[in-house]
Symmetry: C2
Subunit: 352 residues, 2 copies
């Protein structure tokens, strides 16, 4: 995208000096600028980069009433030469437009999504800190701004990108609860879309899990609750007898970029990976007969998140301590690609 | 609620004279005022009635990213004495707070929800037109205004009420498609909540149905697609052999106020009603052997909406013309209660 195709109104000053980069909590601090691009009368208008600030919206905007809202989560990393890199932005762009279609929203042009975020991140380069664990979290999203309380797709939409400096997502030991009643997605529903509505469904069951001492829920299929699907904001992997298992993506399961990248890295490293439905009963059996080695979540915010134990039908299963954790090995390998500390043999990184 | 507990800032003038009440399309025109009540630090602030206008919101507000948004749909009716009546507002209030709990949002106090809407409708009395078919559609809703892109419930919320003058919802003949693949709700999901996210899931399948000439979809259970559940924005009734059938409410099916009111009216009128799961195969069989008499939707916006035919597995089933339509009979009975043209033996109407 030609840089003249984006209107840029820079903030008079930066708030970066007020930010304590050593003590960030996830997603609370935003950079100086944001990108806005409006869709009106069937046409995407010229994107605008402007100071981050609240914006005006009609009380009847369909995003508030009918949940037309989708997003992506991505990260930018700074290497030792102060260059800033994106990780597989094409994958997020593709998934974003798939989500858009599923929610009857317009597709966003590549020059707005990719071109816009490159330009925005370039302007905010100082917010990307060097060093492993540091990154700039990128949140592209689209909402239905069109007014009216008729239950039908909106006519006006707004695409935005906001940026938040991040350290690693989770801290402490993560214990999970395996869902026996609640679920996150229906067959023929929107579970595969990164739709805002999918997340609101998870908060209450997750709150109940939190109250019992579990940080996350591993969702099971809603019809039988026998298949392990994904965790709150992550796909999930199981290491049993030195093989990694993860559920295939489906209408109910998000096609995670970290998930598929880990599968490729694992294969390159000679680790057995099987993508197939994983039953709760298999997990319990493996935990009981000692073949279950690791369980971990995979997602952009968390990258890789080892799980220390899980609960099912009120029984808690502690995972064995791993001297050679495959989860941490894969995280290291993937991080090395993302931070340009190892050769990117996959061609996944894109320089800003 | 004491009227002094609501701050009222009246608009300098009214736009009512600019509105063509004979040619309203649903949900496009809003009255002069709206109610806003913010929830901060665990406390509901004083509600404010002020001119209807756009409001400022942070780009990271959780409603945009994680879909914490719920609503209700209600109507106010004017009788021949110019008195304005609500219909079973207690039912909407109760359901609203159930939705709130399921989405990990705070409950709204009765004096804010009921007290606020009575005060607001009283101020907007001139917008409620007399005569059957005319009403004031009331849209209470709550959104997560709290900022931050961490996938967790927000800390700040906003409850609002907006009002839109309405004529009858649908026009023309309604044909429906019975869902064979797509679905609106999961077991253990949020289908029973009036959550914004549930509606966004329906737009794309409904668009596909529209393209084939069907105005609505009748959803089936997501696991087997054998049970008839509800239509896009309505519960659904089937009249077979002079008995009315409708699905029981469940985690997947909304507890519609019109649905349950129609059941009570039908029973009072001596009509057989069976609340039980209705199979697609039963409907097809009844259509084929001539015992299927009527299919109709029931909802606040539509009240009662007769369906003229349905399609399943690419076969279209035309419903027989009814000389004595139970759908229209029940609509008349319910409307008479709502418009105070018949005695309200149930005690459902509440005067403003």
């Amino acid at each position: 995208m030609n840089e003249n195709d984006i209107t840029v109104n820079l903030a008079p000053g930066s708030k970066i000096d007020l930010v304590d980069f050593e003590n960030l909590t996830f997603g609370n601090v935003f950079t100086d600028h944001m990108l806005i691009c409006d869709y009106k009368n069937g046409v995407w208008e010229k994107p605008v980069i402007k100071p981050y600030e609240p914006f005006l919206i009609d009380p009847s905007a369909k995003v508030f009433h009918y949940g037309q809202a989708i997003f992506e989560g991505m990260k930018a990393y700074k290497d030792e030469n102060d260059d800033v890199w994106l990780f597989r932005p094409d994958q997020n762009y593709e998934r974003f437009n798939k989500s858009a279609t599923r929610l009857a929203m317009p597709e966003v042009p590549e020059e707005v999504f990719i071109g816009g975020l490159k330009k925005l991140v370039e302007i905010e380069k100082a917010w990307v800190k060097k060093g492993k664990g540091n990154s700039l979290y990128i949140r592209p999203f689209m909402i239905a701004t069109g007014p009216g309380v008729l239950a039908a797709p909106a006519v006006f939409y707004r695409f935005m990108i906001i940026l938040s400096p991040a350290k690693s997502y989770y801290s402490g030991e993560v214990k999970v609860l395996i869902a026996e009643h609640f679920s996150r997605a229906a067959n023929g529903g929107i579970g595969a879309a990164k739709a805002a509505g999918n997340y609101s469904a998870q908060f209450y069951p997750t709150k109940l899990a939190n109250e019992q001492g579990y940080q996350q829920v591993i969702w099971t299929d809603d019809a039988t609750h026998t298949k392990l699907e994904e965790a709150g904001t992550m796909n999930v992997f199981f290491r049993i007898n030195d093989t990694l298992y993860t559920a295939p993506t489906s209408e109910r399961i998000l096609d995670g970029v970290t998930r598929k990248s880990l599968i490729e890295v694992a294969k390159r490293e000679g680790i057995n990976v099987e993508v197939r439905p994983v039953l709760v009963s298999e997990l319990i059996e493996a935990a009981e007969n000692g073949t279950l080695q690791e369980v971990f979540g995979a997602g952009t915010a968390a990258v890789v998140n080892p799980i220390v134990g899980f609960s099912y039908k009120e029984k808690y299963y502690e995972l064995p301590k791993q001297e050679n954790s495959v989860a941490l090995f894969l995280k290291e390998k993937l991080n090395n690609i993302q931070y340009k500390l190892a050769e990117d043999t996959f061609g996944w990184t894109v320089k800003i």
